[in-house]
Amino acid sequence: MTRVEERLAAANVIVALVALFGGVVTGLFQALEYAGVEIYPSLAPVIHSHYHSVTMHGVLNVLVFTTFFICGFLPFIFSRSLQAPLASPHLGWVTFWLMAAGLVLAAIPLVGNAATVMFTFYPPLKAHWAFYVGLTLVVVGTWLVTLNLVLTWRAWRARNPGQRTPLAAFMSLVTFVMWTLASLGLAAEMLVLVIPWSIGLVSGTDALLARTLFWFTGHPIVYFWLLPAYISWYTLVPRQAGGKLFSDPMARTSFVLFLVLSTPIGIHHQYTDPGIHQGWKLLHALLTFAVFFPSLLTFFNVTASLETAGRARGATGWLNWFTKLPWGDPSLAAQVLAMVLFAFGGIGGLINASFNVNMVVHNTAYIVGHLHLTVGTAVALTFMGISYWLVPHLAGRALWSRGLALAQVWLWFGGMLIFSPTLHELGLRGMPRRTAIGHISYMQPQWKTLLPLVGIGGAILFLSALLFFLNMVLTATVARRAPQPVPEFADTVSGPDHAPAFVDRWQPWLATAIILIVIAYGPTLVRLAVTTPLTTPGLRVW
């Protein structure tokens, strides 16, 4: 390993996978708790409660694993796509160490049960200040990644005037620019409300203002997790499958729409919050349905690309192109199965977004089922699939066992087929989320019959994750030494020359994104900021 982009990717991916390990172990505890296994007493000195476990599960998986994996994978793929080194390797390392320092700072109270506030940390729940400061440093680190990508891209533009930005680079840049814009809400919540309050500079806070700023970032963050998976599906998977990307113009267009539409929709997480008028909630519902459009474009484009692959491999029927895909490649199998489950995650997401229908599912186990299809499979299983070529490449060793990898991928798929539909159904039957279900006083018979399936599904997922980590560790340490190739970028059926040039223009799309944010959030945020007294005291109740 000589290139700095590779060393940076390796450093980030190691942190990501260690976090994922902590995330899946705590996940198993909760699945067993649901199934009625008394697990926490035996974990007592380390895990203080179910809620301590849930908080670590959420923070490690969706905040740490995703963010570090993305900050490793995307700059790596971006630099390959432009065939240019990162503008500043020095900045790259400063960024990594800043994020790592932030992570350690947040992890101390998290592990020590001083920040058992869930990954959503809704005030007036009050964690140790180091938790908030640490997470904020991680976010600042992601902004520095954006800066490095932008500098790299500008230098590339100067050397290649008039050339179209390659698709993977364009998409990576869109992802980080979108995220940087979207993360301003979280930054404001941290810097203005939460950090001054947690260190004692101000005595009170406000629940609604904090939630509104949180969800400003909290919805687009799912696109920050998801778009890197899309980038793999669009630019690498078609070729891994033996085919071509169906349409570069549609791919670019969908990413531009994600840039524009990801943020002004966050209030769809607050349909049940008092203090926000129904009209604003309806506007956010409308815009959420609009962002469904680029997701459908992606679904079509990626599926059509897989079809070209199946046909190139000899399929002739309507559907047998799917079975003709090279299923023996674990990287491909992981990502195609992730796509299959994500289709259901997308459909379920529409139900969540549907304004009054949301009252049926809000804060129930249905949401947990949904999140495990989206970030827990579409993102996590895709990142595992990427790891099956990225880790061997970075380690300079062959994948330790392809068979074990295939078993792992199918176990994840099978475990999730039990786990997620069960949680969806439990939610429809009225079971709340984030609750120690094994100890509730209001157990309903229609829940009890399904709960063992949560434990079984969760145990299968845990076993799958163990096989993944075993393979990764052995790949990095003892597998046969040999240079491992990175998948080449896919050719296209309809190429970038078919896309109108204005798709690649930044100013109009950024301006549209900002205008939509101002319309969708401006009046509510200004009203709350002006009229809200910060009088609610914080509490530590765990």
Partner: protein
């Protein structure tokens, strides 16, 4: 295939793009009908309340249930760690119940499964929900937002009594 033009949209791209627009637009129309036609609406802006002085507010001086019109009941409810007040609500079958609720401390939830009652109780805000209870029976009132280490014990019940 056409090549060399500045942009090209193929028929099969269009055949996907147009339904992709029609589908969400159709669903949006359907939910607008249920929200404004059938009146199944989410909570709105019912005004602020000082979270440290909930007991002094007219609505929450005496949490409880009262009949405000024939078949119409008003429930004034507070959530606090880790209980609801009142913890038990009795109404006759066929009643429409109007909930007015707030939190005295943390974020709590007010959730009655299958009855259009799913609303957050935020300190500082007054929440509203409305539902009809037709079938006699006992229904749980659940706090569905994590509110500390005994969150899972925070619950109440609605007892819907058969009309004599």
């Amino acid at each position: 295939m056409a090549t060399g033009r500045p942009s090209t949209v193929y028929l099969w791209e269009l055949a996907w793009i147009l339904p992709s627009i029609a589908l969400p637009v159709g669903m949006l129309a359907a939910l607008a009908v249920t929200a404004f036609g059938a009146g199944i609406n989410v909570t709105g802006d019912q005004g602020r309340i000082d979270p440290t002085k909930v007991a002094e507010h007219a609505l929450f001086k005496e949490p409880g249930v009262s009949e405000i019109a024939p078949g119409q009941y008003e429930v004034r409810l507070t959530g606090q760690i880790w209980s609801f007040a009142p913890a038990e609500i009795r109404v006759p079958a066929g009643s429409t119940v109007h909930f007015w609720a707030t939190s005295k401390d943390l974020v709590h939830g007010l959730f009655v499964p299958r009855h259009d009652v799913n609303v957050m109780l935020l300190p500082g805000q007054i929440a509203h929900a409305q539902a009809r209870f037709d079938t006699p029976g006992e229904y749980p009132i659940i706090c569905h937002e994590y509110c500390g280490v005994a969150h899972h014990t925070m619950a109440g019940k609605i007892i819907v009594e058969a009309r004599k």
